[in-house]
């Protein structure tokens, strides 16, 4: 039923709408994808795939451990499918979105796209993504694809009952501790009793962990990730906002980022680090390729990160051998709230070979064990936590538990603009002397202006 309605909708759109040539081609590709999914064109398409050389372009954000693993899987897959070649292109996370949009607008969209979940509303609304092809996942309906994944893993990648992408990473963020640093202050980091349960606990232990040479911080107890893109900020503040019962938008879509709860959260948690002189952007190393540089180098004792983080500091045994994963601190530990996010894989609506693209995505993401071992990525497939590789990963049960209490960041077609307004507000109060209340009020006004809800 899903396939037929998707096919009918696309066909209707393609026939009735007055569109330009590129839009028509896109729709044609989507119609083709739906028809192929329905089995109408499946047989001839597969025959063509076997005979004619097919080249797929795969864009991924730069993350060396993952990029190496993907290249290895590409080599395996193309060896099995000699008519297929896949070109992996990587760009740093910070530039990735801009370059992707530029490529799409120039009619040069890659076939396989690595896309963060918050961008789905914008991309889906502009018909830039092809729906998941269930046949490529060995199923017949979207529900067959959903059945492959843990609960809520596809939630951030769907719209109106259609799934447009699958996770390469289905993440939650936890707290990483440097056990050696904890030892320095007489605490055993492997003992859950010593894990900071609340934000108050976190700042108290962070103060103990820091080291100074005169006035200069030589070891930071805890710090946020600063000066990167708006989504990096959102990953950190979103779960804490939810812990405080705050939100970015209300049910009518109006900005409520200046609510008393949000002001309290940013004052008591985010700004606390600055007012207590424990961290801040001035002492943070900003590295777009490794946002966790200070923890990786052993200059920071605690950080908030995902299960993907350890491969980034595998080359530093002093840190890699001594890290411990603890749950994300909470305002109220009895009612935990965490983040869910997904750096996903999807197929461009303009791809001429969507079935082949989805086929490779299925092949790639079905190796949950390989992914977690090589890159620390949780594919979100059922059974990921039970793979031998996951079992050998420190803190896997903490991450699996964290996934149970998380939510994706707010959905909006203008997310980037809204996220930027909040990032600027954070910088205005933490780096510019503005009051938290005024900065958030300004952000709310900007968001309402962006959304037309002023």
């Amino acid at each position: 039923v899903n396939r037929k309605s998707a096919f009918g909708k696309e066909l209707g759109n393609a026939l009735s709408a007055t569109v330009d040539r590129r839009a028509l081609l896109r729709k044609g590709a989507a119609v083709g994808a739906a028809a192929a999914g329905a089995g109408v064109l499946a047989a001839p398409h597969r025959a063509m795939a076997q005979d004619e050389p097919i080249n797929l372009v795969f864009w991924h954000h730069t993350y060396p451990p993952a990029d190496e693993f993907i290249q290895q899987k590409i080599d395996e897959y193309t060896a099995e499918n000699p008519n297929l070649s896949i070109e992996l292109v990587t760009y740093p996370h910070g530039d990735y979105e801009t370059k992707l949009l530029a490529a799409i607008s120039a009619g040069d969209a890659p076939d396989i796209i690595n896309l963060l979940d918050y961008l789905y509303p914008r991309y889906i609304a502009r018909e830039l993504l092809a729906p998941v092809d269930p046949a490529a996942f060995g199923g017949e309906t979207m529900n067959d694809v959903r059945a492959l994944y843990v609960e809520r893993a596809l939630e951030g990648l769907s719209a109106d009952g259609t799934v447009y992408g699958v996770p390469e990473e289905f993440n939650t963020l936890c707290l990483f501790l440097n056990a050696e640093h904890f030892n320095d202050i007489g605490l055993d980091a492997s003992d859950p009793e010593n894990w900071p349960e609340t934000w108050e606990d976190l700042f108290a232990v962070a103060k103990e962990l820091e080291q100074k040479d005169g006035d200069t911080l030589t070891r930071i107890g805890f710090n946020w990730v600063w000066n990167l893109d708006p989504y990096w900020y959102a990953q950190q503040y979103w779960p804490i906002l939810r812990q405080y019962g705050a939100n970015v938008l209300d049910e009518e879509g109006k900005a409520v980022i200046d609510s008393p709860e949000a002001v309290a959260m940013f004052t008591e948690v985010w700004q606390r680090l600055i007012t207590d002189g424990m961290g801040g952007p001035a002492v943070a190393t900003v590295n777009p390729v490794n946002a966790l540089q200070d923890f990786s180098d052993g200059r920071q004792s605690m950080m908030i990160a995902g299960i993907w983080a350890p491969p980034a500091f595998r080359d530093n045994p002093a840190v890699y051998d001594n890290y411990v994963v603890a749950p994300l601190p909470q305002k109220d530990p009895a009612n935990p709230h965490t983040l869910l996010n997904s750096y996903s894989l999807t197929v461009s609506a303009a791809s001429e070979h969507p079935s082949e693209a989805w086929g490779f995505i299925n092949y790639l993401t079905s190796d949950s064990g390989g992914y977690i071992e090589a890159a620390g990525y949780v594919t979100g497939r059922k059974g990921w936590a039970e793979t031998p590789e996951a079992q050998e990963t420190r803190g896997v049960e903490i991450f699996a538990e964290g996934q149970q209490h998380g939510s994706f960041v707010w959905r909006s077609e203008t997310w980037t603009e809204e996220g930027t307004a909040i990032k600027q507000a954070i910088e205005n109060f933490s780096q510019g002397g503005a009051s938290v209340e005024d900065a958030l009020k300004q952000a709310a006004e900007q968001i309402n202006q962006i959304r037309g809800t002023a």
């Binding site: 569109v19 330009d20 839009a23 979105e97 801009t98 949009l101 530029a102 799409i104 607008s105 502009r126 830039l128 200069t216 600063w226 000066n227 801040g280 952007p281 001035a282 002492v283 203008t414 980037t416 603009e417 930027t420 600027q424 507000a425 910088e427 205005n428 933490s430 780096q431 510019g432 002397g433 503005a434 900065a439 300004q442 006004e445 900007q446 202006q449």
Partner: protein
């Protein structure tokens, strides 16, 4: 039929009106002006001139005029790069009137231009005057001082980013006089200043060369005569250097203000417009609006406003200088 010689051709014809090749009646003689070749020297020179200019004209048309015309056209539309533009008239321009980010970027740009160009005029003129007087290794000094202008902007910005680090050389220098450490790039108060200081270093060398050319064009005899008349150094500077450098001043002022308004790389590399929006100059906002927010129509409207600003500046300055001349 006698041919009219060159000297005769130069004589004014008797007929009140004549055209090349037309018969002219001269009393007592039947004369016909020989058909004048179409491809005259003047036409030949014009044709060659056009041919020589054609590559540049085509280049400017394709890479400057056409994009400008396209930007003007899409400034009247809502266009997100991924769907066809939708005509909205002056909607983008109207929205700029109430856009606090746009107003902020105009203010940040104005502060940057003012903070950068005014000191740079003095610094670059001072350096040029020192170079004119340099007797030893003058070529070496000139090369060294011009070096910042030819270095790639991104590399320069990255070096200065390290320089401005909390534990970087700038704070080490200030530490000697018990100042700081200053959060150069991570505070809204100091980040604009850091960019201005860096721009002095980079821009001064470029304008120094222009001033140097102007100074070298002033005849030495004027200074010598003034010296004989007992003029002091300041007198010579005020009464000879400044008046004769007026054209150079005009050039430097116009170019430096235009370059200041167009600044982008330093802000993008060092601060990406932050912290907050403290260094978000208008070009950076245009870039962000176009490529991060994919609002090409709105970004184009901002570009047109910037273009008009630059044009107005240039016209006003040109008129002011022309009146003084």
């Amino acid at each position: 039929v006698a041919k009219v010689g060159a000297s005769e051709r130069r004589r004014p014809p008797v007929a009140s009106k004549s055209w090349p090749g037309e018969a002219i009646d001269i009393p007592g003689r039947t004369t016909v002006v020989s058909p004048r070749p179409w491809f005259t020297l003047r036409r030949r020179e014009t044709t060659w001139g056009l041919l020589f200019a054609a590559p540049t004209v085509v280049f400017l048309a394709v890479f400057s005029l056409a994009p400008m015309a396209y930007a003007l056209a899409i400034s009247f539309t809502r266009f997100d790069l991924t769907s066809p533009p939708e005509f909205i008239g002056l909607g983008n321009y109207r929205s700029l009137l109430t856009d606090s980010l746009f107003h902020n970027s105009l203010w940040v740009t104005a502060v940057y231009v003012l903070g950068t160009v005014v000191p740079v005029w003095g610094i670059s003129l001072g350096l040029a005057m020192l170079l004119v007087r340099a007797r030893v290794f003058s070529s070496v000094w000139r090369t060294l001082l011009f070096l910042p202008s030819v270095l790639p902007l991104v590399s320069v910005a990255l070096v200065w980013k390290l320089f401005f680090h909390l534990q970087g050389p700038m704070n080490d220098l200030l530490g000697i006089v018990n100042v700081g450490p200053i959060q150069w790039l991570t505070s809204t108060r100091f980040a604009p200043l850091a960019l201005i200081v860096m721009s002095w270093w980079h821009a001064a060398s470029y304008y120094m060369v222009i001033f140097l050319a102007g100074l070298l064009a002033i005849p030495r005899t004027l200074y010598e005569a003034a010296e004989v008349d007992g003029a002091t150094g300041w007198d010579r500077f005020r009464d000879i250097t400044v008046p004769l450098l007026r054209t150079t001043f005009f050039l430097v002022i116009v170019i430096s203000i235009i370059n200041g308004l167009r600044t982008f790389v330093f802000q993008q590399v060092l601060t990406t417009g932050g912290p907050g929006t403290s260094t978000q100059v208008i070009t950076l906002l245009i870039y962000q609006t176009a490529f991060s927010f994919t609002q090409m129509g709105r970004a184009s409207a901002m570009s047109i406003v910037l273009f008009v600003l630059v044009l107005c500046f240039s016209i006003v300055q040109y008129r002011l200088f022309r009146e003084r001349e």
